[in-house]
C-alpha cells in the first residue's frame, strides 16, 4: 500500500472518530440538563413533590383534620414527626395534604392553560386573518391583567374557596401561552418545510400537529414551569389572607396564616408550610431556567 493510501486511511479514521463523538439531539439535551446541576436539583425537587402529592394519604400517618386536644402545639415526637398545630392536628399529615393541594392547583391549572393556550396560539398564528385579530384581541386584553385582582373578584363573585382561585388562574394564564405559541408559529410558518409539506398535500391539522407542534412546544414548556410556580404562589397568598382555601382544607398558605399568631411561641406551625412552598417554587423556577437553556440555545449564556 502506498504512503498516500495508508496515511489517508489513518486520517479518515480519525475524522470518523471525531465526527462520531457528536451525540444525538436527545442525548445533547440530557447532557445539557445534567451538566446544569442547579436545574437538575430543581427537577428532582419538583419530582419529589409530585410523588408526595400522588401518594398523599398513604404518607400521612394521622388524619390531617383530626383534632387531638391533649396534644396541642406538640414538638417533634415519633407519633407526630413534625409536631402538631394549634388545634392539635398532625403537621406532617397536613403538610402532605397541603402539598397535594398546591401541586393540584399549580399543575392542574397550568395544564389546562397550556392546552387551551397552545390550541389558541396555533390557530391564531397559522390561520391569521380575522381569527387572529379577534382571538389576539382577547389575548392582549387578558394577558396584562394582574392575576390576584381577578382572583379577588372571582372570590367576590363565587364566595371564598379554591374554586374562585382556580378559575381566575385558568382565565388569565392561557393568554400567556397563547402569546408565545402564536409568536413562534408566526415565525415558523414561513419556513420552507411548511411550504413543502403543504405542497405535498398535507392537511392543515396534520401540519400543525406533526410539524409545528414539536417545534413550538419548547418555549411553552419553559413558561409552563414558571406559570406553575405563579399559580402556587397566588393560591397560597390568597389562602393566606382568607380568600382561598377554607376550613378544613390544609392549603399551605392557610397553614402559614394559622400559625401567625403563635410565631413567638411555636414558629414551627408557620415555618414548615412556608418552607415547603419556598422549596417547591424555587425548584420550579430553577427547573424553568434549566428548560430554557435546553430549548433556547440562543439565550444560553456561555
Amino acid at each position: 500500500m502506498s504512503t498516500i493510501s495508508r496515511r489517508r486511511q489513518e486520517w479518515e479514521r480519525q475524522v470518523a472518530l471525531a465526527q462520531a463523538a457528536r451525540p444525538s439531539r436527545l442525548r445533547l439535551a440530557w447532557q445539557e440538563l445534567s451538566s446544569n446541576k442547579l436545574a437538575l436539583v430543581g427537577f428532582v425537587i419538583v419530582l419529589l413533590y409530585c410523588l408526595v402529592a400522588l401518594l398523599g394519604p398513604v404518607l400521612a400517618p394521622n388524619y390531617a383534620t383530626q383534632v387531638l386536644n391533649d396534644a396541642r402545639l406538640a414538638p417533634l415526637t415519633p407519633g407526630h414527626l413534625l409536631g402538631t398545630d394549634d388545634l392539635g392536628r398532625d403537621m406532617l399529615s397536613r403538610l402532605v395534604l397541603g402539598v397535594r393541594i398546591s401541586i393540584a392547583v399549580g399543575l392542574g391549572t397550568t395544564a389546562i392553560a397550556l392546552l387551551v393556550g397552545t390550541v389558541a396560539g396555533m390557530i391564531m398564528g397559522y390561520y391569521r386573518g380575522w381569527v387572529d385579530t379577534i382571538v389576539n384581541g382577547f389575548v392582549e386584553m387578558v394577558w396584562g391583567f394582574p392575576l390576584i385582582l381577578i382572583a379577588v373578584l372571582m372570590v367576590g363573585a363565587l364566595g371564598p374557596g379554591l374554586v374562585g382561585v382556580v378559575l381566575a388562574v385558568g382565565l388569565i394564564n392561557w393568554a400567556g401561552f397563547a402569546r408565545i405559541i402564536r409568536g413562534e408559529v408566526l415565525v415558523l410558518r414561513e419556513r420552507e418545510f411548511i411550504a413543502s409539506a403543504r405542497a405535498l398535500g398535507t392537511g392543515n391539522t396534520a401540519i400543525m400537529v406533526k410539524h409545528l407542534l414539536p417545534n413550538v412546544i419548547g418555549p411553552a414548556l419553559v413558561m409552563g414551569s414558571y406559570y406553575v410556580a405563579v399559580a402556587i404562589i397566588v393560591e397560597a397568598g390568597l389562602s393566606f389572607i382568607g380568600m382561598g382555601a377554607q376550613e378544613p382544607l390544609p392549603s399551605l398558605g392557610k397553614m402559614v396564616a394559622d400559625g401567625r399568631g403563635y410565631m413567638l411561641v411555636d414558629h414551627w406551625i408557620s415555618t414548615v408550610p412556608g418552607l415547603a412552598i419556598v422549596l417547591l417554587v424555587l425548584g420550579l423556577n430553577v427547573l424553568g431556567d434549566g428548560l430554557r437553556d435546553i430549548f433556547d440555545p440562543r439565550l444560553r449564556e456561555r
Binding site: 502506498s2 498516500i4 496515511r7 489517508r8 489513518e10 486520517w11 480519525q14 472518530l17 471525531a18
Partner: protein, 346 residues
C-alpha cells in the same frame, strides 16, 4: 507619515487559538503578509478558513475567551502593536487602524443617529468641540458621497439603505485618517450594483489618502476589481500569494486553481459547474501534513508526510506546495472526469 511605498501593516507568523470545551484548536497558523500604503492586499478564502480571525487578531478584538492571540508579530507603521497595553491599543483603533464590517445594519447602534455616532467617535479621540466634530462629520459624509449630508446626520441606521449604511461605516472608519483600513467582506451583504460603487469608493479613498487596505473576501470578482496583490488562505494558512493579474492568469496552488475553475463563466462550453471535491478539514482531525492533500488531485507521497512551507522571494509570488502543476492540468482532469461520468451513465 511614511511616503508612498512604505509598509503600513506587517504581520509575521501570526497564531490564534480557539479554546473549545475539551481542546484548543489553532485557527490561524503562522500567517504572514504585509500591506503597503496606497496598496490593497486581498485575503481570500472560503468561510471558516480563518480570514476574519486574522483580521480580528490584528485589531486585537478577539473575543477572549474563547479566542486568543498566541504568537507572531504585528507592526503598524513600524510600531509593534501586539505587546501594547489595551489602553494604548484602544487609542490606535479608529485613529491609526480602522475596520469595516460585513453587515452594516447590525454593525451600527440602532438607537443613536449616525451624526451622534460620528461625533462621539471623533470626540473620543480628539479634543475638539461638539461643533467642530459635527463639521468634520458632515465633511466626511460628503466625501463618501452621501447626498444631503447635513440632514442625514439626524437619521437613524434603519432609515438608510444598505449601500448608504456601508458608506457611513466607511466614513466612520476614515474620518480620523488612519494608515490602514481592514475591510471584512464589505460588500457581501449588498446588491451587486451597489457592490461596485462601494468598491470604487474604497479605491478612491485609498488613492487620496494613501491608505493601506486589507480586503477580506471570498468573492474573486471583488478581488480582481480593487486588489493589487492577493493572498489565498486555506485552513488557517496562506497557501499562495501573488500580484492579482499573475494569480488569475497563472495560479500555482491547486486550491487557487480549483477556486478559479469553479467561477462560472459565460464563455465556457462546460455542461456543469465545477466544484472542488471534499470539504474544509475539521479542526479536530486535521490531515497530518499538507492540509489540502485530501482534496488535491496532484497529491504525492510527500504531501502526506511533510508539511509544506511557504516559499518564494519577498516581492515575488509565494507558494506552499510540494507538487504544483500548471492550470491546464485541471482542465484535463475535469474533462476525463466528465467522460467517465458520461460513460457510467449510459
Amino acid at each position: 507619515m511614511i511616503a508612498d511605498g512604505g509598509v503600513a501593516l506587517s504581520v509575521s507568523d501570526l497564531h490564534t487559538t480557539l479554546a473549545f470545551r475539551d481542546r484548543s484548536v489553532d485557527v490561524v497558523r503562522g500567517v504572514s503578509f504585509s500591506v503597503r500604503r496606497g496598496e490593497t492586499l486581498a485575503l481570500v478564502g472560503e468561510s471558516g478558513c480563518g480570514k476574519t480571525m486574522t483580521a480580528l487578531s490584528i485589531m486585537r478584538l478577539l473575543p477572549d475567551p474563547p479566542a486568543r492571540l498566541t504568537g507572531g508579530q504585528i507592526l503598524l507603521d513600524g510600531r509593534d502593536i501586539r505587546s501594547l497595553p489595551e489602553s494604548a491599543m484602544r487609542s490606535l483603533r479608529g485613529e491609526a487602524i480602522s475596520m469595516v464590517f460585513q453587515e452594516p445594519l447590525t454593525a451600527l447602534d440602532p438607537v443613536f443617529s449616525i451624526g451622534e455616532q460620528l461625533v462621539e467617535l471623533i470626540r473620543a479621540h480628539r479634543k475638539v468641540s461638539k461643533q467642530t466634530a459635527r463639521n468634520l462629520a458632515v465633511e466626511i459624509l460628503k466625501e463618501v458621497q452621501i447626498p444631503s449630508a447635513e440632514t442625514r446626520m439626524r437619521d437613524y441606521p434603519h432609515q438608510l439603505s444598505g449601500g448608504m449604511r456601508q458608506r457611513v461605516m466607511i466614513a466612520m472608519a476614515l474620518v480620523l485618517d488612519p494608515s490602514v483600513l481592514v475591510a471584512d467582506e464589505p460588500t457581501t451583504a449588498l446588491d451587486v450594483t451597489i457592490q461596485a460603487q462601494i468598491l470604487d469608493l474604497i479605491k478612491t479613498e485609498q488613492e487620496q489618502r494613501q491608505l493601506g487596505v486589507l480586503l477580506i473576501t471570498h468573492n474573486l470578482a471583488v478581488v480582481s476589481r480593487v486588489a493589487r496583490r492577493v493572498a489565498v488562505m486555506y485552513a488557517g494558512e496562506i497557501v499562495e500569494e501573488a500580484p492579482t493579474q499573475q494569480l488569475f492568469d497563472n495560479p500555482k496552488h491547486p486550491y487557487t486553481q480549483g477556486l478559479l475553475r469553479s467561477l462560472p463563466s459565460a464563455s465556457d462550453e462546460r455542461h456543469y459547474l465545477y466544484s472542488i471535491p471534499g470539504r474544509v478539514p475539521d479542526p479536530r482531525a486535521l490531515p497530518p501534513a499538507c492540509l489540502y492533500a485530501p482534496r488535491c488531485p496532484f497529491a504525492v507521497d510527500r504531501c502526506w508526510e511533510e508539511h509544506p512551507r511557504l516559499v518564494g522571494r519577498d516581492t515575488g509570488p509565494l507558494l506552499r506546495c510540494w507538487n504544483p502543476q500548471p492550470f491546464s492540468r485541471i482542465e484535463e482532469i475535469e474533462r476525463s472526469e466528465e467522460q467517465r461520468q458520461a460513460a457510467t451513465a449510459e
